[in-house]
Symmetry: C2
Subunit: 743 residues, 2 copies
Amino acid sequence: MSCFALSKRVLQKTFTLTLVPNIWKRSFSSAPALSYPLAPGWGSKQAAKKPKKKYPNLYIMDAKSEEILAPLRAAVKEQGDLVRSLKADGASEIDVKKAVNELKARKKLLEDKELALAPSESSFDRTKMEDLLKRRFFYDHSFAIYGGVTGQFDFGPMGCALKSNIISEWRNFFVLEEQMLEVDCTVLTPENVLKASGHVERFADFMVKDLKNGECFRLDHLIKAFLEKLAADKKTNEATRQECLTTVARLDGMTREEMNAIMRKYEMKSPITGNDLSDAMEFNLMFSTSIGPTGLLKGYLRPETAQGMFVNFKRLLEFNSGRLPFAAAQIGNAFRNEISPRSGLIRVREFTMAEIEHFCDPDEKDHPRFASVKDQTLVLFSACNQMDGVAAQTTTIGEAVAKKLVANETLGYFMARIQQFLLRIGVDKARLRFRQHMSNEMAHYACDCWDAEILTSYGWVECVGCADRSAYDLTQHTKATGVKLVAEKKLPAPKTVDVVEPVIVKGVLGKQFKKDAKKVTDALTALSPEQLTEMENKLNEAGTYQLTAADGSSFAISKDVVSVKRHQKTVHVEEVVPSVIEPSFGVGRVMYALLEHSFRVREDDDQRTFFSLPPVVAPLKCSVLPLSGNSEFEPFVTQLSRELTTAGVSCKVDSASGSIGKRYARTDEIAIPFGVTVDFDTLKEPHTVTLRERDSRGQVRLPLSDVAPLVSNLSRGLTTWAEVEAKYPRFEQQETTKAGGDS
Amino acid sequence: MSCFALSKRVLQKTFTLTLVPNIWKRSFSSAPALSYPLAPGWGSKQAAKKPKKKYPNLYIMDAKSEEILAPLRAAVKEQGDLVRSLKADGASEIDVKKAVNELKARKKLLEDKELALAPSESSFDRTKMEDLLKRRFFYDHSFAIYGGVTGQFDFGPMGCALKSNIISEWRNFFVLEEQMLEVDCTVLTPENVLKASGHVERFADFMVKDLKNGECFRLDHLIKAFLEKLAADKKTNEATRQECLTTVARLDGMTREEMNAIMRKYEMKSPITGNDLSDAMEFNLMFSTSIGPTGLLKGYLRPETAQGMFVNFKRLLEFNSGRLPFAAAQIGNAFRNEISPRSGLIRVREFTMAEIEHFCDPDEKDHPRFASVKDQTLVLFSACNQMDGVAAQTTTIGEAVAKKLVANETLGYFMARIQQFLLRIGVDKARLRFRQHMSNEMAHYACDCWDAEILTSYGWVECVGCADRSAYDLTQHTKATGVKLVAEKKLPAPKTVDVVEPVIVKGVLGKQFKKDAKKVTDALTALSPEQLTEMENKLNEAGTYQLTAADGSSFAISKDVVSVKRHQKTVHVEEVVPSVIEPSFGVGRVMYALLEHSFRVREDDDQRTFFSLPPVVAPLKCSVLPLSGNSEFEPFVTQLSRELTTAGVSCKVDSASGSIGKRYARTDEIAIPFGVTVDFDTLKEPHTVTLRERDSRGQVRLPLSDVAPLVSNLSRGLTTWAEVEAKYPRFEQQETTKAGGDS
């Protein structure tokens, strides 16, 4: 079961913490559309000439800011200490929970202020980016010609290619490099599987209904919007205002009763119709359906891909010749019937996940490749720091594991690998942190959990979860099915064990219990050594023992039916239920964060927007542009296009009219990193063309035959643009800067 | 809308034609487990030494067989001619349908006999293959530890890798090479979309219910099983036996009433309980669910991926700068709630499709790349041949299009490309044909449709549909939404057109109709030129006109509200609704056929089974095997594994104990085409290893440093094994042949 799954409420928290109300309506146009600084290039020499403006360091504030933050930090620490002492004193669960809610509220105030105080040299215009995404159909609302469905998005050619490149890179990086066992399981899942996993009972949100028209609202969203509006009202007095803000900050983790009380206190009505609202009700977030024609087999669309790996554990262990550790992986769609989806790709009803379940010996969580990552630095925002009001800290993963800050090597190894992957596809390291779940956030069965959070204009967004889930999931499925999901572990030395067994006199038992004979036999066989000893004593003392069967029925057992035998045997292996370490990626969220981090506005023309995606994930790698419609260019364009395709370089020919500058602007918009222009000089021998790099707009002139292998190398990161500029003569002709009517 | 979709009954026909009853229970073990001949190799020199046994030519029968087939052929032709003449005479639909059912029955008898007469040198043991697929977890029933769900399969590591390699190759071959616009749309689809496409009304099968316990049966399957059993009963007289067989052959395409009548005539009961059965009812095959919390928005899991491309047509056209032709493509899952899924991967409830929608000018269906495929030969089983009882014929696609056998170049181009793709991934050309839909099978809107059918042990299976669907789908969605789904086509020369327009006096209309003003305005604007002329006449004659609005309400219109204006205007473009050519791949079916075609049994040991998959789709490309557990081998194994991974070659290290022969047998089972062994000679300088090829079991000795680049080239088809054997010395050591306990 995925981190994404049962930590759902936690997830919501992550977003609501910094979520702007009415996200779809918010206008960003009043904000100055500053040019976005170039992020650290992936090999652009020209870009390197300018002193690069980096995204500000979020963890080191200047003295003045720290002065402002100091009381907020102190308030967090005060509350954190209170929580600690309550726990130490064994306070009641409800008291701890209340204190934790207050702690979260204080944490939120601190984090909001930290983000507000962060240097403002970087600005981001979401409206502008969304305009580009829509205009060039990276993705858009599904079924728009039918009025659309909220929380569902279709990926157009560029969005689809970006997504499939991210997935393909993920597969290379994790499945192939680490020799994981990838599986592809079904979406339709029968109810009993999701009962065992806990989803049927617990995977729910609170909602209220308009009593007249039946419209539904997610209760925490409704309360938040209401109270924020009230707080912003000039007629509201200061005491009420403060109360509103405090309540909002405490919303997460509130019980149904607490929320009902708030709703009634403020006499909240439907914000749309003004009608009365129902009491809060739980709404299960899974889509249900029936499998087969009878309508009797209830099923759900899976809310995560993880369960498919757990139920196939035995087959996978066998595929791995019975040996631990091994990792399973799955990439696929999951479905959640959100009450009120919003925030674009971040909260949707249908999404792609990439999940890993690493099964290992519960007593040996070291990792053979840990040494290869131990010096890697990560920004860790530990539970302890969160309780102390202290900022996230940069440390090596080796140090973090050595200090037991991160529970074990395997967990640490995956955190490092997650970061490597995210940086590789273009996420900005300055906006990435690992936040540890505080003990109250963590599912009760997990022993440690860290979320890779990425900072976007929606705040810090959990994009990858990384949890040590111990033996919970396999144990649950064993309980539900009776199938042992265990691995055999060779003992360091053979061991002699005491065996206590019932010896059943079958003939007598059969005669006495007739149709219940099997039930009685099963009940006797299921007795623990302690129970067997108890039975033996009872039989010796009273001559009879009252046996309880699995269905609760009771049977009087006499001495002639059963006796107890004790002996010793030598065993060479022991059975263990493996622990599971689970890295779980939300592909859509990672992709959205990546789009934000790579969105750029040209410094010399704020109408020219583009995505600076690394070539490895860019939807297309190269454009081929004939200078004009002159038919003499055609054979060269065809040849280039064929050579590039053969070399595995995806390319796009743009023979439309319009200046080269306009056409480059168009290819920049869809993030094509390299562009080749065929011009009149190409016609002369030796045939040459120009090659342009998107971010720096630098151009070189090179032989036509060099293009395909060179761009192939550039796309796979084997050559840098700086090396290209060093090798080939610069092509100085200025490209038209103004995009003009080019939209 | 996909060929797979509305031609569902046709699909079923394809299977039932040659389907063995009780497929999961049928025992093949009594059949002699003959070794399967090696198919044409993809570059094995050793394999080439033996005279290869090819799959028999299915279309050329010997004289004796033709003698047996002659009366069957004549019977088909007689009925085919009858159908033709009925159509020519404009006979009633029901008469044509009856004649067609009889034609199909005769076709089935002919085809069964043809397959029975085909030379028997090739045999295939499905039980053996299924055992291997299960044992090495290529795929298996989903949720088996919970008792399993029929019609759902999970792909294990090797099945998943094979499937993802097929998909990746498909993407390269179609999307990248043809610069298609790939999209990724949602599975959850609101009801109104699928109403427009026709699925809500027509995507159904007939079923009956056990009146006591509610168990459901697919009616055609039930009748077939019942009548076949009756026919096989020794007590059944010859007349009844013949009637049974004829009825079975006529089952496809029967109406509900016809099936009910048969069921009542034979007094059929539930085969499980003997209880009475309900009348036949239609069962829609889509999985339904509700989207959102209110339960009011009904949705379905998409039964095909095609609709996502149609509803996004406008965005895609815009992405393509408004120009035709262009092709959209989508790879994704679709869902069908089969009443009684069977035949393994062929009939399942959840499956992956890869679909292409090529949008083109309805008047220009030539294809710029047709010349590149025109000489390619295909086996075509035309509608005409099917009606004449004549075998399928081999022809070039150029000839077929020239003769108008295939409707147009674009359709022909895609048929050729489909064949290229199937052969490239390893489908046997001798077992591939294109069968044309007969006019009665074709959806009424399609103008031509060819199915790529692959011969398996289940008979001929439709794996890829290729249809010219004309303007049907876009037109349906326009009707449902009012959104014009058209492209602008430049006219060869500007054209002057007559325009007839209503001139509305808004003020007067507003005063007269008040709240209905908009409705009246819309109705006036929607009038056709003919209706406008009629209105003008009425207004002139009677001074009033009775206008009917869209909702059926009626309004009396007077002269002071509206007049009619006529003028001319010059237009440079015209709007056309594009035609759609749709190749639609069932990935699971293609994969299953490929597994059957590549399944092999070693001639010298019938316990050694393996898959001869081409390297391009093989799950893993290379194994690395240390000769023994000697720790000196380790660094070489690690180095090789790293070098191969870096070169993009997926590999598997097998350090388990057991002879090299046994371990090779294990890697053969999972279709790994190349294997490297590190042995004691590897320790000496210069370091060398052996490289082995799976199908021929030939081995060479080569420098360790040559391995990664060489296997990378072999895997991508850039080097052949024959070239490797020519370059490097042969390694003669015999591998252990007997697999022994190796299972």
